[in-house]
Amino acid sequence: MKRKQFIKNAALTAASSIVMPYILPSGRLFAATGSRKANHVVFCLFAGGVRNLESMQKSEGNMMRNTLNGTEPVSADIAPGIHQLSPLTNNPLQNSGTLFKEFRYSSGPTGHYNGHTTAITGKYSDESIQLKQPPKYPTIFEYYRKHTSPTTSALNAWWISNALGPYPYLNYSMYDGYGAPYGANMIQPASIFNASAAAELGNPLTLTQSDKSKCDMMRDFMNGQFKIPQAAASSGIVNTPADAEHLQTWLNTMIYQVTHSATQDPWGTGIMTGDMANIYFGIEVMKEFKPELMVINMTDIDIGHFDFTKYVNAIGLADYALYKLWDAIQTTPGMANDTVLIVVPEHGRNQQANSLVDAYGRYALDHNNDQMSREIFCLMAGKGVKQGQVISQIQGESVDVVPTIANVLGFDNEIPFGILDGRVLTEAFV
């Protein structure tokens, strides 16, 4: 080998040995601002209003057999109304992490949107929340995208909602210095990935690469002639052109799958509730984009306002979907062994039943700020989390989730002092 070539090769090898360790599985070139416990967080709002009585305390049997240890049978009187799917595991999720059995949603109205907002912003909201506008305080997505260095793409942060109404507004706040530029990509899969929407969106104009280049060229010229008025500029989340194309390609793929019935019963359970579908499509997001931060919710449990047995049934099905999510994390390259999963209901339900009786003679439950409607649980599992730990005393609150996520992803020290109400749940970590 010639001397010059030898020197060149040696230099390249040396450079590679310096650079390569910083190319992380998530695709980041450099490590984040602070020390990370894991490179991905999936936060599942096990929402709809779940009482600890039916979840942690198993008053109707162990309805969460994929999450909690124990084989307590379903109460005999409601068993005919329960869709009992075989557990997906012999090693429930609690063994892979730390379970706070007496977590709290301590303040603010026990409403779904309040509960979601509190969990996503880390701030209790005692005042009435405006349902048709973004939250007052920054969301975890904005903290993540603003305070992670180097800045991350919006495709790294996802809010996956199983309902419309006020929920799409949770991907960024109105807080000064934060807002849409740091928001998450939001999707409500049920409204896009269905036959009706697919009929409207499923046969798009397709452009060859050459056609696309020509369109881009013309659009660039047109855009050069128009100055977007600042006062009226769109306030929504914006992806880079490359990311937007990636997103659109994925959406079209999913719509194609929907039109070809590939998503009707993908788990072969014979049942696909709204919660299960939301988790299914959340998993698809995860597999495609491997987001560093993904928040996803389930809300079918709220049937508890009208039918107690269906409420208990929904807890069991949500538990099934939750384990599917965990299983997908473990088998998704780039996320496996590098993800912390956090599971928290947004609030509980009242101790006192309402007057509605179901087919099995059970009374339904509302959630109106009583003590039991503030009693929830929190499960954390995954990389760096203490395994098999159960914390049975009252410990931890809903507002602690945001600082904990920030700590896992290494930017908790970057968040301006005094905004957040909660603390890092350090007791959960090794």
């Binding site: 409204s191 929407a197 369109c215 013309m218 914006v238």
Partner: protein, 176 residues
Amino acid sequence: MKSITTFPLFRISGFPNWILALSISLLVLQTSCNKEKRYIYEVQQQELYQSAAQKQNLKTTDQFISIAYSHLFGASITNTELTKYNIALQSLGDKSTMQDMIVKSMINRSGVQLVSNTAMRADIPTFVEETYLRFYNRKPNEFERWKMKDLIQKNTDVTPQMIYYSMMTSDEYPYY
């Protein structure tokens, strides 16, 4: 090709002054007679913009969808379709991407009023003029006239459909 966008306007119909005076007199003289005001929904033609700089407001979701539909099909969108597209837009945080998907979907449906490629190339200046009026509700300025003509002439594979798509997904289109 129609080039003027129309918006519904809620207004009280006008009368000649002498009828108005007579009506007031009668109202005073015959107080027992309660004549109701007549409200008529009318369609008002919107004036053309003199330049793109006059556009300062973002179209609402409903406006964007229904205007896009009428620009392409020359007809009003049905409530059912408007609702479907509206829900699709609500369901994705990246509105621009969903708007792009909606335009791609609409523009590929049968019934779109498309100028043929042959007609476009037979009279490019007229095509450019009419297309700007149709989608931007304004005339192109001299530079735009020249540049678009040049682009179309030099790129023989550019079709009217591609030009419509580019305009409807440009920065100007969501504004009025």
